[in-house]
Symmetry: C2
């Protein structure tokens, strides 16, 4: 396994190449890719060569081939069924996010305990099940990744239930640290830390 | 200015130290901090010494002092008023996120064009204004950071309006690249790329 920082970079290169690919060119150099997307050309060459992808001198990288290679390395050649616990504001926004339900991810279920929501569907048609049926649905729908979007006090219990039902990756949005066995990958998402990064730059800009 | 990667690390150290600080110890070593939060002890020492913070040999870093120093470096000793454009599912979830409205950030306004929402408040009491009054409100409320949480086709226009009204940092959640003058810092948030990182690890776990 490579580190999360490298994986994020590869995912970023993939997104950039997918954008470039729409314009019809066959090749792109690391220099040109770096300039267009504020990346580091040396880092691109180093990362791609680590995975056995090399550019042709003077020509650059074959865009299609590099996309295929990156998808393989990132494990994106398969489809992952994803379920979201908590059909509130955040859970619904994540479920209906236009960039999600294509390529490698399918949001197949939302879970909630509020009977007014259970049985309904989101705007893009994702069903909301009752939280009591989480384990059965996770097995039936072959869910491999769970997203936690419930209040902090419910997060740990729901994460445990996802794992016991067979889920192997958890993305946690609730503002609490969840403890899971080491073989489960957990990613915590926190928009506040991104706001802090933004604040750093804003604090450096002279007003006026 | 330091790079975004370093700023993210500093923000992460700050979060870890704030958690440790609640337990009552006065000092912590880089080794102990690294073990508790899966960080790199060498990197911690390197980052903190770059900003003039050093641990005492055999004792470690003074927790309180390091927190104060990190807040200074990150520009978090002041309060930033933040506004969110789009009072839909995502915008509302961000506005009511419990970790936000304390310390250095205040969400002071939401903007929307839907008259059924305008004039109401979110669950935690944040007012929803009509998007037509964005410029006046931004100046009146001294908003320095804008969050874009509207559909993709409306994002660029609203970002331009935020900037012309005096906002200096933009966080964009809409699935579209927005172009702004180079003196404005823009951060794009995309939960799909975090899902891709999770997929990489899940693809490596042997099932069963
Ligand atoms: N990480 C971030 O950047 C970020 C941003 C915004 C919100 N959040 C967090 O995300 C979570 C959801 O936020 P929201 O705005 O959607 O809240 P919300 O109140 O709108 O939604 C929560 C949903 O969870 C359901 N729920 C509560 N307890 C449950 C349980 N035990 N089992 C099943 N369902 C349960 C509720 O019925 C509700 O539908 C909160 O923890 C919030 O703090 C995180
Ligand atoms: N980056 C991510 O990870 C992520 C995740 C989920 C959603 N999203 C994106 O965030 C945005 C909001 O998602 P949502 O689920 O809250 O959608 P939503 O439809 O629930 O909310 C959109 C809101 O914007 C308002 N709006 C539309 N056009 C407007 C305009 N010109 N001026 C002012 N207000 C306007 C609507 O009235 C509505 O209240 C979308 O672009 C979505 O694709 C991003």
């Amino acid at each position: 396994c490579v580190s999360e920082i490298v994986t994020r970079r590869l995912s970023l290169y993939l997104r950039c190449l997918l954008m470039v690919n729409r314009e019809g060119d066959d090749y792109i150099s690391s220099k040109e890719l770096a300039e267009r997307y504020h990346l580091n050309a040396d880092q691109i060459r180093k990362d791609l060569s680590y995975f056995g992808t090399f550019g042709k001198r003077g020509v650059g990288y074959n865009i299609e081939d590099t996309i295929v290679k990156l998808k393989e390395v990132l494990g994106l050649t398969q489809v992952y069924n994803v379920a979201i616990a908590g059909a509130g504001n955040l859970g619904t926004a994540l479920a209906d996010y236009p960039r999600i339900n294509r390529d490698s991810f399918r949001i197949v279920a939302l879970f909630d305990r509020d009977n007014r929501k259970v049985g309904a569907k989101t705007r893009t048609g994702i069903p909301i099940y009752h939280i009591s049926g989480l384990e059965d649905r996770v097995r039936e729908l072959n869910v491999r990744m769970g997203i936690i979007s419930v209040p902090a006090d419910a997060a740990q219990g729901i994460a445990d239930r996802f794992v016991s039902a067979g889920v192997r990756g958890i993305m946690n949005f609730a503002p609490v640290r969840i403890q899971l066995p080491s073989y489960i990958k957990t990613i915590s998402a926190d928009f506040k830390s991104q706001l802090e990064v933004l604040a750093y730059y804003v604090s450096k800009i002279k007003v006026g």
